[in-house]
Amino acid sequence: MLAIKGAKTWTLGSRGTLDSCVILIDGERIRAVESRMDIPAEAEVIDATRLTIVPGFVDAHSHLGLASNGLAVDDGTEYTEQVTPHLMALDALDPISQSLKTSLMGGVTTSALLPGAAMSFGPITENITVMPGMASVLKIKQTYPEVLREKAGIKMAFGNHPKRAVEEKKTAPVTRMNIVAMVRESLRGAQTYAAKKAKGDEAVDLKKEALLGLLESRYPAHVHVHKLRDIELVLSVAEEFGFKVVLHHVTEGHLAADMLAEKQIPCAVGPIAFTRRGTELANLNLATPGILSSAGAKVAIVSDFPTFPAHYLPIHAGMACREGMKYEDALSAITLSAAQILEVDDEVGSLEPGKYADLVAFEGDPLQAMSKVRLVLASGNIIRDSIRTKGGVV
């Protein structure tokens, strides 16, 4: 048993924010969070007085583990085919990627693993396909990552990027019309498949099985989208087929904040500190997460690793805060809201009894760049502790 006492604590849960508290941890889980309690005699105690504790960070859009060495995102997108919902990013996870450790040392304890990874770097532009595959949610741990949610949703991409993947080859799609048609065609096929399957006269089709989960709302579509016109296209297709959708990047989300809030569309925004790389990003704005959350939308702030290192999520949240986002909304965007968007908030995202003991203690404001990470716990394991021992800095 482990007790961490004395820190100012943002629980993001029903206990709110406590100026000083005791967090009691039993094994992997939190047993209690109280402003005062008798610490059991057998508990190991860490005195975190003068530090600030927040839940372990949750990154709602990442390719962490896919890109094990910098630009080598070769395993992120199966370019040979545009619609591959049956592929799983999990199958390309490198469990010993150095970046997993670096992220964990910075307090990132939960991360989405999305297929469709590519990045723009200098003259290299992003390439992704219309439907690259299935996303998962990982708990990053001391050893290998643990799968928190295996089937977390189907990644899709609207807009310019799926056009680019095959621009030189002149294969479909080269227009937005065909991107939408390809998505509709796949889903129409899945509907027919479902009807035949109900009658028992259809052989198993892995692609259509993956899409069934979408049609049956077992998981959402995670849709890469930048421009407002594409956001509208995504929502119209989702409405037509009745599937849940999470918007990712949402670069022009601030132009439709009220609509997105009213329709309760979750938005995984970012990476907000990016530059306006290409026409689709011309309206990129650090204020977007704040405008969306103030309107009432559920907002995560994301790293899009390897575009940005995941352990700088709190700095991005700090920047959003500077541009008008409420402090607690900004903090939630990298903890609880992100967990809710990934539908893993019953396990992680806030400091509450029963949830995994994932937390970070900062010396200083967690959303400021100069604050030092002093303690990281993941599933109750001490990953880093420079409170009691002079630890290295990573």
Partner: protein, 389 residues
């Protein structure tokens, strides 16, 4: 006359002044201190509870040459047609209307070096300029250096150019030595021709344009600014520096901390980074966020770069702030985006600190200048407010 009063002045070279006063006249800092009388005629800027810093300087960016919000058609940073393009100039590729210049100001950056890209061994001349003002007044140095690159050898696929891209690191060094050798010959040919009252040997225009610029490097009128990341490349650069007696800067230097002592002994500065972006994803096995601190501790003159648009030039100050998380002192971190950068740019007589006589380029922040939650309240270049517009 302008007077900025109250607030915390980070002078960089003369410590931190609490509740100071700074007088600005004719674009220069006239006086700065704690016991300064404000003339009745002065326009007063009240900076109480705020922080005042020198304008930040980014020694490695591609602002305007890789403009924002456009697709690749407008990217003019990389002339990937030849391994030697010393005849081209950054200034000819810059879109001065690029929003990147405004981004710079919004993050308190008032001066920058703009480089051609890193697709050539010898890539073209750099320009040093201020981020706002009338075109003719903005340019600080042109040329401000010759961009060179130890790029992933053989990867550029330049087979058809006049100088095909070399296939090995040895080949990169070979191309550079050849060109520096030609530049020395260019100088001696002209000197002896002048003595003898003859015409120097005729050259093709393009070669002449390249050698004219490389001659400035040989004469140490400007440095070679060399994209290089790892010890094997940096040590080759140090050998060539020694052989030709030229000035060089190491650009990026991901693993330069491993040979920090060699760099200090050679007097070679490092423009490090960018931090915060994808370069930090382990690409080189020894890259390390503590590198800026290790370089500084070893006595290497180090500055941060954004490599904009790789990382936004707006966030230059956050690289300094984030490095403090990894053990860099606040004071040294601030030097790395002010006076050290000014030295590397060759403009430290005018820029990089709040001192009487220097250009009145400064910013006022609502809180600590290296923190993401602090707002940029206003930015001044030569005494004129340039942000907000």
């Amino acid at each position: 006359m302008l007077a900025v009063k109250g607030g915390k002045f980070y002078t960089v070279t003369q410590g931190v002044l609490e509740c100071g006063t700074m007088l600005v006249e004719h674009g220069k800092i006239k006086a700065i201190g704690q016991d300064i009388q404000i003339p009745a005629a002065a326009e007063v800027v009240d900076a109480k509870n705020m922080c005042i810093v020198p304008g930040f300087i980014d020694c490695h960016s591609h602002v305007g040459i890789a403009p924002e919000g456009f697709d690749w058609e407008f990217g003019d940073a990389n002339e990937t047609t030849d391994a030697v393009t010393g005849h081209i100039r950054a200034i000819d590729g810059i879109d001065f209307g690029d929003i990147g210049f405004k981004d710079a100001l919004s993050g308190g950056v008032t001066a920058m070096l703009i480089h051609p890209g890193s697709s050539n061994v010898i890539g073209g001349t750099d320009i040093a300029l201020k981020c706002a003002g009338k075109m003719e007044d903005r340019i600080l140095r042109d040329p401000a250096g010759m961009k060179m690159a130890w790029t992933a050898a053989g990867k550029m696929g330049l087979k058809g150019g006049k100088h095909p891209y070399p296939a090995t690191r040895m080949g990169v060094a070979g191309v550079l030595r050849q060109q520096l050798h030609l530049a020395k010959k260019y100088i001696s040919d002209r000197e002896s021709a002048q003595k003898e009252g003859k015409e120097p040997p005729a050259l093709e225009a393009r070669d002449e344009m390249t050698l004219e610029m490389l001659a400035k490097v040989i004469r140490r009128e400007m440095p070679a600014r060399i994209h290089s990341m790892i010890p094997v490349d940096i040590l080759a650069i140090l050998r060539i520096k020694e052989e030709y007696g030229i000035d060089v800067t190491i650009e990026h230097g991901d693993e330069s901390h491993l040979i920090a002592d060699n760099l200090r002994e050679a007097g070679v500065p490092v423009v490090y980074g960018p931090l915060l972006g994808d370069r930090e994803v382990p690409r080189y096995k020894n890259s390390n966020p503590e590198a800026p601190r290790i370089l500084a501790d070893a006595g290497v003159v180090t500055a941060f770069m954004t490599d904009h648009p790789v990382v936004s030039i707006r966030d230059l100050r956050l690289q300094a702030g984030t490095s403090c998380r990894y053990g860099l002192s606040e004071e040294v971190a601030l030097r790395m985006i002010t006076i050290n950068a000014a030295k590397i740019m060759g403009m430290d007589q005018r820029l990089g600190s709040l001192e009487a006589g220097k250009d009145a380029d400064f910013s006022i922040f609502s809180g600590h200048p290296l923190e993401p939650m602090s707002k940029t309240v206003s930015v001044y270049i030569e005494g004129n407010r340039v942000y907000p517009e």
